[in-house]
């Protein structure tokens, strides 16, 4: 009975915590405060965006126990690592090494979980991309020779993932950041992009708060702009040639999608949406220039961060994106950012994505009020 009460209390505490979902680890946990916990598992909570195990640990200041929440990667990543919810069960003794929550709550990011009975390390995840193919394969094409960007019905299945960079900065700059876009040295902020003074100050503010205000994780806001091509879980192009449009399904974006029109329409009419229909992905029109799909997107709202790391943008943002499938397994993504509301000039960036063959796009669901 006491176990149920403690577990329920722990869940309630988590439910009341600020919502975050598959956030930058540093947004919530302090990598300068390592901690080792040994105790008995009371609950395994195997849900998006992060799995948790709850562990009763002897109170160092008394005779009772304290219930700690150990946060782990998402169930998607854990399952890809070969783990399932039964690998750790209530009653198991474990030793957890990790880093503690910045807010002082009894939460720890589990860098290592070891079962005491066997000494086996469990629930660890590696996200290294598979090795590139030994030989470049030719670009798959439609009968009219136009490159194919998506899976082929009855043929090659897969999606695009493992971006060569998960952070965005101006081309030909090399600034050290973590995978979530957190600068190693905040003094480098002005070098990231040609920001206006207010945008630079806002970017610094977001960085100094360890990206904890990121609306993509805090409120499950869609990852519009170039960010959709830098998130975990990749993207998939679905080419609807009959209606001359391309759907971009976003694995890391709460299972939402973007439409790119290739029917020759222009940016006319109510491009920017309105309060009832704010456009997180903007309005995209495209044409093929040789083997490159050139996409012109505008009409974005200002309710989201368009990059990992929190570079600001305004409603004046226009993106010119170029997608080139350079070989079967490689998609080159180039983007020019034109936003006179936030930047002093237009600037460019780019990276590549890898074809992940014979796999379905992961179904990651952001859930508000879930840490």
């Amino acid at each position: 009975m006491k176990f149920i009460a403690i577990s329920t209390l722990a869940l309630l505490l988590l439910a009341g915590a600020p919502a975050a979902a598959h956030h930058a680890i540093s947004a919530k946990f302090d990598d300068k405060k390592p901690m080792t916990l040994s105790g008995v598992v009371t609950l395994v909570d195997w849900r998006n965006p992060h799995a948790h195990i709850f562990v009763n640990v002897k109170d160092p200041k008394g005779t009772g126990v304290l219930n700690w929440a150990v946060e782990l990667e998402s169930p998607i990543d854990l399952q890809e690592g070969g783990w399932n919810r039964d690998i750790v069960k209530p009653g198991d003794s474990v030793t957890v090494k990790g880093i503690v929550a910045r807010d002082g709550s009894r939460q720890v990011w589990g860098e290592s979980v070891v079962l005491s009975a066997t000494g086996r390390r469990v629930l660890n995840v590696t996200t290294t991309p598979p090795p590139p193919p030994l030989q470049a394969r030719p670009v798959p094409r439609w009968p009219d020779k136009q490159p194919r960007l998506g899976p082929i019905t009855g043929g090659a299945q897969g999606y695009w993932g493992y971006p060569s960079s998960t952070v965005m900065m101006e081309a030909n700059t090399n600034i050290k950041m973590d995978p979530w876009g957190l600068l190693a040295n905040i003094a480098d902020a002005p070098k990231v992009a040609p920001m206006q003074p207010w945008a630079l100050a806002l970017y610094r503010n977001r960085q100094s708060r360890f990206l904890q205000d990121d609306p993509t994780y805090l409120n499950c806001k869609p990852p519009g702009g170039p960010r959709q091509f830098q998130l975990r879980y990749g993207v998939q192009f679905v080419e609807d040639r009959e209606r001359q449009r391309i759907f971009v399904l976003i694995g890391g974006g709460n299972s939402n999608y973007r439409i790119i029109y290739t029917d020759g329409r222009t940016h006319a009419g109510q491009v920017g949406g309105d309060d009832d229909n704010p456009l997180y992905y903007g309005r995209a029109v495209a044409k093929w220039e040789g083997d490159t799909l050139a996409v012109d997107t505008r009409g974005f709202n200002e309710d989201f961060w368009f990059t990992n790391g929190g570079l600001p943008h305004t409603e004046q943002l226009k993106l010119l994106e170029r997608f080139t499938r350079t070989d079967f397994d490689t998609l080159k993504y180039e983007v020019t950012i034109d936003d006179p509301g936030a930047y002093t000039r237009s600037w460019s960036s780019g990276w590549t994505l890898r074809w992940i063959a014979n796999e379905e796009l992961p179904r990651h669901l952001c859930q508000e009020n879930r840490p």
């Binding site: 206006q196 003074p197 207010w198 630079l200 100050a201 806002l202 503010n205 977001r206 708060r209 205000d213 609306p215 409120n219 806001k221 704010p278 200002e302 309710d303 989201f304 961060w305 600001p312 943008h313 305004t314 409603e315 004046q316 006179p340 509301g341 936030a342």
Partner: protein, 131 residues
């Protein structure tokens, strides 16, 4: 009467559950509602609408028949200091308002600006919160 109360409660409930618009762009852009007055117990409603075109902040104080266009509106990112002015007129003549404040809670959608205002007739404090 009962229908009116029900309608009021319904609207209030809708407002309570309406999702907050994050507004991650220019920190001044949006609608700001609060009060201004010589003292906290003697204050009036204040509504300021602000926008940003990439070069300048523009907007209106208390939109309506007696609205006051914003003048010389600036945001200094060093300390997030806000300044704006407005020129109004009544039977007694022109009134020149000057507001100086600071953004608080920058990271949040319901950030606020608080500070002081003065005119050629009186002065006081103001606080407005982004809606």
């Amino acid at each position: 009467m009962r229908r009116q109360i029900a309608l009021f409660l319904f609207i209030a409930a809708c407002l309570l559950v309406a999702p907050a618009r994050a507004q991650e762009g220019h920190p001044l852009k949006g609608s700001w509602i609060g009060t201004w007055g010589p003292s906290k117990v003697h204050s009036n409603d204040l509504l300021v609408i602000m926008s940003w075109d990439g070069k300048a902040v523009s907007g209106t104080i208390n939109p309506g028949t007696d609205d006051i266009p914003l003048k010389n509106a600036t945001l200094n990112p060093e300390g997030w200091v806000v300044h704006f002015e407005g020129e109004a007129k009544d039977k007694a003549g022109p009134i020149n308002y000057v507001f100086d404040g600071k953004i608080e809670g920058l990271a949040f959608h319901n950030r606020s600006i608080s500070g002081t205002w003065k005119s050629n007739r009186e002065s006081g404090q103001f606080k407005i919160q982004r809606q």
